[in-house]
Subunit: 347 residues, 2 copies
C-alpha cells in the first residue's frame, strides 16, 4: 500500500491511521507493507512538481493508497488540489467517492434533538466528471469584457456507473432507499440525464425506493430531517458540498471518512479523511485522527477484509462513546493509541 | 405594483403579504395599486405559455413585483422555473438576489446553542449568470455515448456589479465583514475572476474586512459557526444552495425572504419568499405567510419607504416572539391578520 501523508496535519493523522491498520492487520495475519511518498507543498516548493508521471506510474501498482491531506497557504489555491488530489482521482478512475454520514452514539452535533436522531446515510458522490472536469476558460482576461466559463461534463458512461454502484449499495441496506440529489429544474441538460439514468438503472432494482431532492432543499433537510436520507447519489460538486455539511451534522470534520473508489480495481483506490491540512493546528497534536482511521476501515472493507473493517469501526465507535464519559482532551497520538488498543483487545 | 400569486400556496401567502403591505401603506399615506397577473401552472396547462412577451412588457412598467411561488407537480420540472421565474430575473436584470439569514428572538432552529446564537447575515447572491445562464447541451442523447454539459458563465461585468453591491451593504453594517463563497480551488477559471474582482473592488472599501470560504466549508460553518458570516457574496448556484441552508438554520423556509433586485431601477425588482409552492399543504391554511411579509418589507425598503419597512419587520419580530409564548397553531390568514394589526397599532 502507498501512503501519501501530505501537508499540515496529514502526516500526524496518517501515522495514527497506520497504527490502527497495523493492529487490525496483525490480528488477521495480514501483511501490511507501506511505502511512503512525499508529495504536497514541500515537494512543490522544492521541485515545482505536484505529481511526476513516474510517481503516478509507481502508485498505479499498489493495492491501495492512504492519503492524509494536501494544501498549504504558501501554495496558490488549486495547485495541489488539482495537480495531485484531483489528478489521482481522475487518473485512477475513482468514479465513486464514498462518504458515509453517520452520527455515532454519544457524539455531539450542532443539531438539537430530535433532528440529530437517526443520522445514518451513505453519500455516493461521482468522482471523475461534472464541474470537476476542469473544462472552461477565460477570454479577455483583465479587461472589462472578461468572461470566465466553467463547464460541467456529464456522460452517460460516467453517470451510469456511479448510479449503478449506488443502487447496489442501497439494495444491500435495510431501508433500501436511494435519493438523487441534483438541480434538474435549472441544470436541465445534466439533470435530465441523471434523472433518466436513475430511472433506467432503478428498473433493475425493484426493492430500492427512489426519491429525488434538489440540492438546495437537500441542505435544508440535512439539518431539519436527516432521517429522510439513506443512500444519496449525486454529482461531484453537489457531493462535495453536501458531504461537508454531512460531516458537520455528524460530529464534525474530524470524524468524516471517505474512499475514492475504483470498484473494478483496475486502479488502486484511495482513502482519505474529508478534512483538509488544517495548517492552523499543525504540529500541535490537536488533530483528530478518527477520520483517517475510519477511512482506513473503508479501505479494509474495499480490500475484502470485512471482519477487520468492522473491528476498526467498532473500536472507533467505542472510543467515541468513551469520550463522552471521559471528557478529557487527548492528543492525536493518544487517540490513535486508544483505538489501536481497542482493536487489539477485541474478542 | 404587479402581483403574481402563482401556484400552490402562492396565492394564500401573497394575500397576507398584501394585507400587511396595505396596513403599512395606509399608515404612511402611500397609495398601493396592485394589478394581479395569472401566471404559473394553470396558465401553462390552458395555453402552453409561461410568460407571453406582451405580459413581460407590461410587467416592465411597474415599480415592483410581488411573487408568491411557481411550480406544480403536473408541470415538468424546470418549465415554470425557467420559463417564468428565471426569465423574469434575467429579463429584468435582477443581478442582486438579496437574502437575509437572520434568526429572530424566540424562533426555534434545528441548531443547538451556542451555534444558534448570533445568526444574522445577509447573503448577496448573483442572479443573472453563473450556471443559471442555461448554457450547455446534449450530444448523442439516449445512446451510450451521450454527453450533457452545463456551462457556468461569469463575466467581469456581472461579477463586478454584484460584488460592488455587496461591499456597499457590508460597509453599511456594524461588523463590515464580507465573505466571498466560491470553490476557487476546483472552479479555477470562475474562482480566479471572483477573487480578483473582490480584491480590486475591496480596495475601495478599506473599512470592510474581506474573507474567503470554499462553498463546502461554508455549509459546515453555517451550522457550526454561523457567527462567522456578516455579508456573504456568491454566485447564483452556490447562493441558491447556501440560502436554503440559511433558511433552515434561521427557523425554516416559512420565514426566509428574498428580493430579486435591479439596484439601478432600470427594471422593476421582484420580491418573493424563498420557499416553493408546497402543493402538499395547498388550500389548507397551513402555509406561513411570514416569508412573504418579510419579502414585502424588503420591497418597501427598496422603494425608499424605510420607515414602513422597519415597521413591518418589527411587527414580524413581535409576532414571532409571541408565538413562543402562545404556542397555538394559527392559520395563514390569522398570522397575516395578527401582523397587520401590529403594524396598524405601532406608535
Ligand atoms: C480539496 C478539494 C479539491 C476536495 C474536493 O473538492 O473534492 C475536498 O473538498 C474534498 O471534498 O475532498
Ligand atoms: C425555483 C428555483 C428555480 C429557484 C432557484 O434555484 O433560484 C429557487 O430554488 C430559489 O432559490 O429561488
Amino acid at each position: 500500500m502507498a501512503v501519501i501523508p501530505g501537508d499540515g496535519i496529514g502526516p500526524e493523522v496518517v501515522a495514527e491511521g497506520l497504527k490502527v491498520l497495523s493492529a487490525a492487520a496483525s490480528k488477521h495475519d495480514v501483511a501490511l507493507d507501506t511505502t511512503e511518498y512525499e508529495l504536497g507543498a514541500r515537494r512543490w516548493h522544492a521541485t515545482g512538481e505536484t505529481l511526476p508521471d513516474s510517481v503516478e506510474d509507481e502508485l498505479r501498482s499498489y493495492e491501495a493508497i492512504l492519503l492524509g491531506a494536501v494544501g498549504d497557504p504558501s501554495v496558490p489555491s488549486g495547485v495541489l488540489e488539482r495537480g495531485l488530489l484531483l489528478r489521482l482521482r481522475f487518473a485512477f478512475s475513482h468514479y465513486v467517492n464514498l462518504r458515509p454520514v453517520r452520527l455515532y452514539p454519544g457524539v455531539s452535533t450542532p443539531l438539537a434533538a430530535p433532528e440529530a436522531d437517526d443520522i445514518d446515510m451513505l453519500v455516493v458522490r461521482e468522482g471523475t466528471e461534472g464541474p470537476y472536469a476542469g473544462m472552461g476558460g477565460v477570454l479577455r482576461k483583465g479587461t472589462p469584457g472578461e468572461i470566465a466559463t466553467q463547464d460541467s461534463v456529464n456522460t452517460r458512461f460516467g453517470v451510469e456507473r456511479v448510479v449503478r454502484y449506488a443502487f447496489e449499495k442501497a439494495n444491500a441496506r435495510p431501508r433500501a432507499k436511494l435519493t438523487l440529489v441534483h438541480k434538474d429544474n435549472v441544470l436541465t441538460f445534466a439533470g435530465e440525464l441523471w434523472q433518466r439514468v436513475v430511472r433506467e438503472v432503478g428498473a433493475e432494482y425493484p426493492r430500492v425506493s427512489v426519491d429525488y431532492c434538489h440540492v438546495d432543499a437537500a441542505t435544508m433537510f440535512f439539518v431539519s430531517q436527516p432521517e429522510r436520507f439513506d443512500v444519496v447519489v449525486t454529482d461531484n460538486l453537489f457531493g462535495d458540498i453536501i458531504t461537508d455539511l454531512g460531516a458537520a451534522i455528524a460530529g464534525g470534520i474530524g470524524l468524516a471518512a471517505s474512499g475514492n473508489i475504483n470498484p473494478e480495481n483496475d486502479f488502486p483506490s484511495m482513502f482519505e479523511p474529508v478534512h483538509g491540512s488544517a495548517p492552523d493546528i499543525t504540529g500541535q497534536g490537536k488533530a483528530d485522527p478518527t477520520a483517517t482511521v475510519l477511512s482506513s476501515a473503508i479501505m479494509l472493507e474495499h480490500l475484502g477484509l470485512s471482519a477487520a473493517a468492522s473491528q476498526v469501526e467498532q473500536a472507533v465507535a467505542e472510543d467515541l462513546n468513551a469520550r463522552v464519559k471521559d471528557g478529557s482532551e487527548r492528543s492525536t497520538t493518544q487517540i490513535g493509541d486508544d483505538i489501536a488498543s481497542r482493536v487489539a483487545e477485541q474478542g
